[in-house]
Symmetry: C2
């Protein structure tokens, strides 16, 4: 059922997200994408931006969501290597590797979001943590929940984009990081 009187139609969120996406993709130095810049690029008032997304983190999370949708879909529907054909440990490793590559591909957006704090309370982190924790509990035949919670946090903590950038700056290649991370993932079921 609709209201009797409709009023001025709202602008589509799509355009604002696309404008933000473009700015983050183009941004040379990270962190320079302001809300004013996004509003201007989207040809929209700043008030509209804040009404639509609440605050800066809301916008970044929404943009993050659109980027993460494909991976989320693949994981939840069980597309290989996230199905039963792979071992739980392989799924864990594939999951962490996917997130690593995802963060590198969207580094400016991720950098902006991770810089503002409160990331650990964000829905995306919670989702990643829940998934990681589940993979761990499936991979290791034990039910020590504290261990799974802790290990999931720890595995994800190595994926902060600042840390990745620092390691790349120190000469480690992406492939090296992926290889070492995979090895570390295997170690999860050995530690008690």
């Amino acid at each position: 059922m609709q209201h009797k009187h409709r009023g001025r139609p709202p602008v589509a969120l799509q355009g604002m997200l696309e404008a933000a996406d473009m700015l983050f993709a183009q941004s040379k130095l990270p962190g320079s994408v302001t809300m004013d810049a996004i509003a201007a690029a989207a040809s929209v008032g700043k008030g509209t931006l804040f009404r639509a997304f609440g605050n800066r983190d809301g916008l970044l999370d929404a943009l993050w969501a659109t980027k993460l949708a494909i991976l989320k879909e693949r994981v939840t529907t069980g597309v290989p290597p996230f199905d039963e054909s792979a071992t739980p440990l392989d799924r864990l490793i594939a999951f962490l590797d996917s997130i690593l590559m995802f963060k590198i591909a969207n580094r400016h957006l991720i950098h902006a979001r991770e810089a503002t704090g409160g990331l650990l309370q964000s829905p995306h982190y919670r989702w990643m943590h829940a998934k990681t924790k589940n993979f761990i509990m499936e991979a290791s035949n034990q039910v020590d929940e504290d261990y799974a919670i802790y290990s999931a946090h720890v595995l994800l903590s190595a994926l902060h984009i600042d840390l990745i950038d620092e390691m790349l700056a120190q000469g480690l290649s992406v492939d090296t990081i992926r290889r070492l991370q995979a090895a570390r993932g295997k170690g999860v079921i050995r530690i008690v």
Copy 2:
């Protein structure tokens, strides 16, 4: 050799550091300690603060340094358990545990410093990383430098104060975290 003319004597850095320390220790919600507040608490102009420490991070690093001095001393002079009486692995674990407890004890200061980004380039992080890397290379009888660099970063990444706070909020006790971290430290020499 001295200058011919001396000019107005500078204020002691000590007082400013003490004022900042007090504010961080008292601060209820983290991140609320501004430079103005520190200047006021130290009965000093803001300009003096910035002239003395360069910028906010400089002040936080200086305060961090005073707090970390004891641990740094113990590690570099080889006081037990950082001497030869302990195995390299035990030293690594003791080192990580010391940093964990240090961060918890100074959580507001650490939170402020870790929130501003650029932590990975700070001298304290570089010191911790270098030490951790050395312990790892001593503990595992191998010379894969990439492995040591990566593992040191990863071990330290689990010590971000936000992450610690989040784990505590999720019900993990400090002792549980210490125990799991120690177990993870042991895992370092098993993974290849």
